[in-house]
């Protein structure tokens, strides 16, 4: 009962505009990149924070609701809090920028990328999170990235494995080549 009341209170606050998702970033990323974006860019649930499904406010436990309340009071950077309705990227924004700065950036969402730590790459695909935001790709999905950038990064990263595969294929083909030539000579001799 208490949990339901909490959830209702948070949903009411959301409806009043006190604690809603920030679609400006999503809109900017979509317009700039031309790629389809959804709330899963920053949120746990792809349909956003409001609702009763997993990762949405209505599904949170009492403890998670408490954490959410604290996270929403984190106006300054460096709080170290993990909001249960945000994913790793959303929480990175919260921790690095704080709510006040995020609110300020809503007016100029193009500045979000440069406000994030330059070296931060949450999914480890070699493309910084800020750049992924600009490219309209997911900062937490290593398979999602601007194709050419991913190709270049992975080529550098897997260079040794690729070189080994080239060597193995070449040696295998060299062996096969000689085996076929030997077989050809043998059939010629028999004839």
């Amino acid at each position: 009962m208490k949990r339901a009341l909490w959830a209702t209170a948070v949903l009411c606050l959301s409806a009043a505009g006190v604690a809603q998702a920030y679609p400006e970033f999503q809109r900017y990323s979509k317009e700039r990149s031309g790629r389809s974006i959804n709330c899963a860019l920053c949120h746990t649930h792809s349909d956003g924070p409001e609702g009763l499904r997993a990762g949405q406010i209505g599904s949170l436990t009492q403890e998670e609701l408490d954490t959410l309340g604290l996270a929403r009071q984190a106006t300054a950077p460096g709080s170290g809090l993990k909001s249960p309705i945000l994913n790793g990227f959303g929480n990175l924004m919260l921790d690095e920028l704080g709510r006040d700065r995020i609110q300020e950036l809503r007016q100029r969402p193009e500045s979000l990328a440069e406000s994030l730590p330059a070296g931060s790459d949450l999914d480890g695909d070699g493309i910084p999170d800020g750049q992924e935001y600009l490219d309209g790709t997911h900062p937490l999905n290593s398979l999602d990235g601007q194709p050419l950038k991913l190709f270049r990064n992975n080529l550098g990263r897997h260079g040794f494995h690729i070189a080994m595969m080239v060597l193995a294929t070449a040696l295998g083909l060299y062996g096969l080549h000689n085996a076929i030539l030997w077989l050809s000579t043998q059939t010629g001799k028999e004839k």
Partner: protein, 368 residues
């Protein structure tokens, strides 16, 4: 005493499948390959076979982990991708090689057509080749659903819906047939567990068995008849199939394998699409933008978006019939005319595949 129709039937078959000619000499030592400006086309069938073999091997590895249930399918694919050793590579090899196989088969079909390699006595070779092309598309369609993500389920729904729509244009009792076909494929009221089970069975058992049978007959025909001349005047030069052509073929296989390996290792196929399309399918959630089939179905998808349904259905039916009836329809057509037709078809396929979305935007606007 054999009846006349049976005798004629057997004569027809023995000309198309001259198994009595089969010997070590005819298949290996005496077999030659003409050398001319279109000789590169002789390698396309072999390349398609290589990509099929890659799919076979990677498909078996994927089977070890994939769970064909609506609750676990997406999670098992995620598990393969992120937790199984080299799972990402195997899965991406499977995806890239399927696209490469379809590309090679399309080029193979078009060049075979342009070179008139379907002419008597190679009708059975063409027919089995056309069946392999159709089976490959069926592989693509059934495999697309298996990861059970947003684009997979929604695109399958769109295709099944268009099958049902065809009923509106059929007369009388036939109008119910497409709905019946759709229900058989779907297995339940909407795309769900029954559909996934059917597509899985088709993809991993039924289609491979059919493919092996038809491929065996196709390869037998190719071996029995040898390489077609390919040009109006006999080539001035030829090379021995064994070992010269075979060696070149294997080296090309090596290069093609390395190309697809590097692509699979460095370029996730999914990176070409927006990430919301690869989220687990959620029947209660919103449908993301950009639902469309794989690129090799664009040649029919974009016309469906742009033109009246009956026009596309008619075109598709005539095109399909023409594909299978090619040896008889184009029996007396010159290679020059065949070359022009093949070029036009190629141009259409390239333009609609690369610029289909732009063309759609130009005429209809909004998101495709």
């Amino acid at each position: 005493m054999r009846p006349d129709w049976l005798r004629r039937g057997l004569d027809y078959l023995s000309e198309r499948l001259p198994v009595q000619k089969m010997s070590f000499e005819s298949l290996v030592t005496k077999k030659v390959v003409p050398v001319h400006r279109m000789s590169w086309a002789y390698y396309m069938g072999g390349l398609a076979l290589l990509f099929f073999l890659i799919q076979l091997v990677t498909g078996v590895f994927l089977l070890f982990y994939y769970q064909p249930t609506v609750s676990d399918a997406h999670a098992s694919v995620e598990y393969i991708t992120y937790y199984v050793n080299s799972g990402f590579l195997v899965r991406n090899l499977h995806t890239w090689s399927s696209s490469c196989m379809i590309l090679c088969l399309m080029v193979h079909a078009l060049t075979t057509f342009a070179m008139k390699a379907f002419a008597r006595p190679r009708e059975v070779t063409w027919l089995t080749g056309s069946m392999l092309l159709a089976l490959t598309f069926a592989f693509g369609f059934t495999g697309y659903l298996l990861p059970w993500h947003q684009i997979a389920v929604n695109a399958t729904k769109v295709v099944l819906q268009s099958i049902e729509e065809a009923g509106r244009y059929l007369p009388g009792a036939l109008s119910g047939l497409p709905t019946y076909v759709k229900e058989i494929i779907q297995g339940e009221a909407s795309v769900g567990q029954a559909t996934l089970s059917r597509f899985y069975a088709l993809h991993v058992v039924i289609l491979p068995l059919l493919f092996f049978g038809v491929l065996g007959l196709h390869l037998l025909c190719v071996q029995l008849h040898g390489m077609s001349q390919g040009t109006d005047t006999p080539a001035r030069r030829s090379e021995k199939f064994f070992p010269i052509f075979m060696l070149k073929d294997f080296w090309l296989w090596g290069v093609a394998f390395l190309v697809v390996f590097v692509l699979a290792y460095c370029l996730p196929f999914e990176s070409f699409y927006p990430y919301p399309l690869f989220e687990p399918y959620d029947s209660l959630g919103s449908t993301p933008d950009g639902i469309k089939p794989e690129w090799y179905f664009y040649f029919i998808y974009y016309p469906l978006e742009l033109l009246p349904f009956w026009v596309v259905m008619l075109g598709q039916t005539l095109g399909g019939a023409a594909l299978f009836m090619t040896p008889w329809i184009f029996k007396n057509t010159s290679r020059k005319v065949l070359g022009i037709i093949a070029t036009l078809v190629s141009a259409y396929l390239i333009v609609i595949t690369i610029f289909g979305h732009d063309i759609y935007e130009m005429f209809k606007g909004g998101g495709a």
